[in-house]
């Protein structure tokens, strides 16, 4: 729950705006309504208190009158009659009925006087706080305080108590307490309070609703902009935002559309340029083929009759013949690269045992290797290394790796390995020639890159072999990695997913660094 909320907080602007507004509104409404409530309560209570004190004073004055009348012939003896008449004067002075309770209590300082005590409606004496009684007795004048009025047979309720001392003669005195229950006032206050609550909640709710509407109004176009931007990123360059009105959001939409439009134009331009370029390379390669075919056949005819030629012409015809081969493979590679660049290369995958394909490539490379005096060693496992791949391309990759190894292997044996793992299969070609330094490793797959420009190229490779091998590997979703050290030779490792399209990760059944232990 909490996590879901924090998630929404992080991800939804509208949620954040509404939540913030709600918190702020709650605090504001709370403070102002609280202030209002305190003022109203205080005002009501104050008015009530002064009215109650005035009422009590009226009653007290009447009682004082009764006592005065009774004391005309000297201090009256304490009697039931006196208590009753005092009590009556205290109560009947009220003109509204029993809006208050009265307690008439013995308040003499001397302990031996015997005054009768009176009370209305079974009010408990404990309703009057003890320290108030002490105050009344000692000060002898009117004192008031708030208290809880306790009844014998009713639930107690809050109220005001006003107390005073009614002196009879010199020795005896009554404590008189008026107890004003706040029942009515409490009702009023409750009403005010509940009204304030309802008003506050309503206000907060409405504010929240309003803010969420506003937030939606603002956020929805922003979300739409985000969605459209995502679509544009995914290549739907023609996507645009609807522009409504002339406000800030419309400005955002306009700016966005301008940006998308300019992006679209530029990308289209680049695309058409790139297409043009690729088309050109492809066209050139194709156009070259027809004259090359004629030259090729002419050269074949000349080459066939070389026995009858004088030596200079003979050598010329041989050079022509050989260089045509080279020219042809260069053209083929160039066309292949242009096909990769145009994204026109297609895989024709079938379940293939790599040992068979690699074996065929090795056999094809043997005559060349033999001519260079080096041996190719096949180190294949007994179990089949089956992977879903395009065998023609795999064979071409291995052929390219092999001719590279033969060219740079300086006559040392070349080791070809194959292996299979749980999710991938691999082939590696190791030579023990000059090796590669770190700079070489970075550039070895670059087109037309040569390890050592000063060295004579004997094999007449096109300089595109490894680039094509890399492209072929990429087409399979595989990896072509290279290891090399100066003087220790080089190792190329091709790793292929066993199931086409499967993510390869970093694993490979063959190690890249042959100097590792166990290799």
């Amino acid at each position: 729950m909490f996590r879901a909320l924090t998630r929404r907080w992080r991800r939804s602007l509208a949620f954040r705006v509404v939540a913030t507004t709600l918190v702020a509104a709650t605090v504001l409404v709370g403070v102002s309504l609280g202030f209002l409530l305190i003022r109203v309560t205080n005002g009501l209570v104050d008015a009530n208190t002064s009215r109650s004190i005035a009422e009590a004073n009226v009653g007290l004055a009447a009682a004082q009158q009764v006592v005065l009348q009774a004391s005309e012939g000297g201090p009256p003896p304490p009697s039931e009659g006196l208590a009753d008449s005092i009590m009556n004067s205290l109560v009947t002075s009220d003109d509204r009925g029993a809006a208050y309770e009265v307690l008439l209590l013995e308040g003499s300082s001397a302990a031996d006087t015997q005054l009768s005590e009176r009370g209305t409606n079974l009010v408990e004496v404990s309703s009057v706080p003890l320290d108030m009684r002490t105050q009344v007795r000692e000060q002898g004048r009117e004192v008031w305080t708030y208290t809880t009025i306790q009844y014998v047979n009713q639930p107690s309720e809050p109220g005001l108590v006003v107390g005073s001392l009614l002196t009879i003669g010199t020795e005896t005195a009554y404590e008189v307490y008026y107890l004003f229950p706040y029942g009515e006032l409490q009702g009023t206050l409750d009403l005010v309070r509940s009204t304030a609550w309802i008003a506050g909640l309503l206000l907060i709710g409405l504010l929240g609703l309003l803010m969420s509407l506003i937030a939606r109004h603002v956020v929805l176009p922003v979300r739409q902009a985000a969605r459209t931007a995502e679509l544009v990123r995914a290549g739907h360059l023609e996507q645009r935002l609807p522009v409504r009105g002339e406000d800030d959001l419309a400005a955002l939409a306009l700016a966005f559309n301008d940006m998308a439009g300019s992006l679209q134009t530029q990308i289209r331009q680049l695309e058409s340029l790139s297409r043009l370029q690729q088309r050109f390379v492809s066209d050139v390669s194709h156009e070259l083929r027809t004259p090359l075919t004629t030259i090729r056949m002419a050269s074949d005819v000349i080459y066939e009759s070389r026995e009858t030629m004088p030596p200079s012409l003979l050598r010329s015809s041989e050079l022509l013949h050989d260089q045509l081969d080279r020219f042809e493979s260069l053209l083929a590679d160039l066309l292949e690269i242009s096909r990769f660049d145009a994204g026109a290369a297609q895989l024709e995958t079938e379940s293939t045992d790599l040992r068979v394909v690699v074996g065929a490539a090795v056999e094809a490379a043997r005559p060349l290797a033999r001519a260079r005096g080096c041996e190719i060693v096949e180190l294949f496992p007994d179990q089949p290394c089956v992977a879903a791949c395009d065998p023609r391309r795999i064979e071409r990759i291995v052929r390219n790796l092999l001719s590279n190894a033969i060219e740079h292997g300086e006559g040392h044996p070349i080791e070809v390995r194959a292996a299979v793992g749980a999710s991938c299969a691999a082939v590696s070609v190791r030579d023990f020639g000059r090796g590669l330094d770190d700079d070489d490793l970075d550039r070895v797959f670059d087109r037309f890159w040569r390890a050592d420009p000063s060295r004579v190229r004997n094999l007449g490779g096109t300089g595109l072999g490894l680039s094509i091998a890399l492209e072929d590997t990429r087409l399979h979703g595989g990896r072509l990695a290279v290891w090399g050290r100066p003087g220790q030779g080089a190792l190329f490792r091709l790793t292929l997913p066993r199931v086409a399209g499967q993510d390869l990760g970093e694993t490979s059944p063959l190690p890249l660094d042959p100097t590792e232990v166990g290799v």
Binding site: H286, T290, T293, T294, R296, M297, V301, E328, S351
Partner: protein, 227 residues
């Protein structure tokens, strides 16, 4: 004369060179440079084999190939500068028996032409039965219930090659070697396309072949009565 070859190509230099090479090997070449006149030239020269460039002015090679195939089973070898799958398959499906990719070597081309024209040499009388088909090897004809089934020479060769050894499974590579005369690994799509064409002519239900069977992962074989 070993045979008459019609060269349909719009490049004069290449045509001339092809002529030289063909003549040197004892063939009699005829030339046509416009695709829309190719069929006419075919009628006039009645060649034993057609060398057909894919890219032609007028009518392209695919259309010409279809037009020739519609009325004759004469071997057609396409000359193509394209190696893209779609183009090659399109060329083969239009009825070409074989194709060579420019730039090709003269020897390679001649070898292919010779293979395609090998049937002109004498063959011993031989009658093969395959299911309800009877194959007359020397007479170059296939009959079902006395009805002649019209096969191109290449389809006939393919059928004979398979039917002679019904106990043997032929890989695509072996068929390329035996039927097409390739000495190097080549495009196995050639075999697939022509097996489909052969089946569409001789099988009762080409979708469920009973005479030319596919052996998954290996190649093809003919129905063996002893199975």
């Amino acid at each position: 004369m070993k045979g008459r070859v019609l060269v349909v190509d719009d490049d004069p230099a290449l045509s001339e060179m092809l002529g030289i090479v063909l003549q040197a090997d004892g063939f009699e070449p005829f030339f046509e440079s416009d695709g829309s006149r190719a069929l006419e030239a075919f009628h006039q020269t009645r060649p034993d084999l057609v060398l057909l460039d894919v890219m032609l002015p007028g009518k392209d090679g695919i259309e010409v190939c279809r037009a020739i195939r519609a009325e004759s089973g004469v071997p057609i070898v396409m000359l193509t500068a394209k190696t893209d799958t779609v183009d090659v398959v399109l060329g083969l499906e239009s009825g070409a028996d074989d194709y060579v990719v420019k730039p090709f070597k003269a020897k390679e081309l001649i070898a292919r032409i010779r293979t395609r024209l090998r049937r002109l040499d004498d063959e011993k009388p031989e009658l093969i039965r395959l299911g309800d088909l009877s194959i007359d090897v020397a007479g170059h004809s296939v009959r079902r219930d006395g009805q002649v089934i019209d096969l191109t020479p290449l389809e006939f060769d393919l059928l004979v090659c398979l039917a002679r050894k019904p106990w043997q499974v032929f890989s695509r590579e072996v068929l390329l070697q035996d039927v097409w005369g390739y000495r190097h690994p080549a495009d196995t799509r050639l075999v697939n396309v022509h097996v489909q064409r052969l089946r569409s002519k001789i099988e009762h239900d080409p979708e469920n072949p009973e005479l030319v069977l596919t052996v998954r992962g290996v190649g093809y074989k003919a129905r063996d009565e002893s199975d």
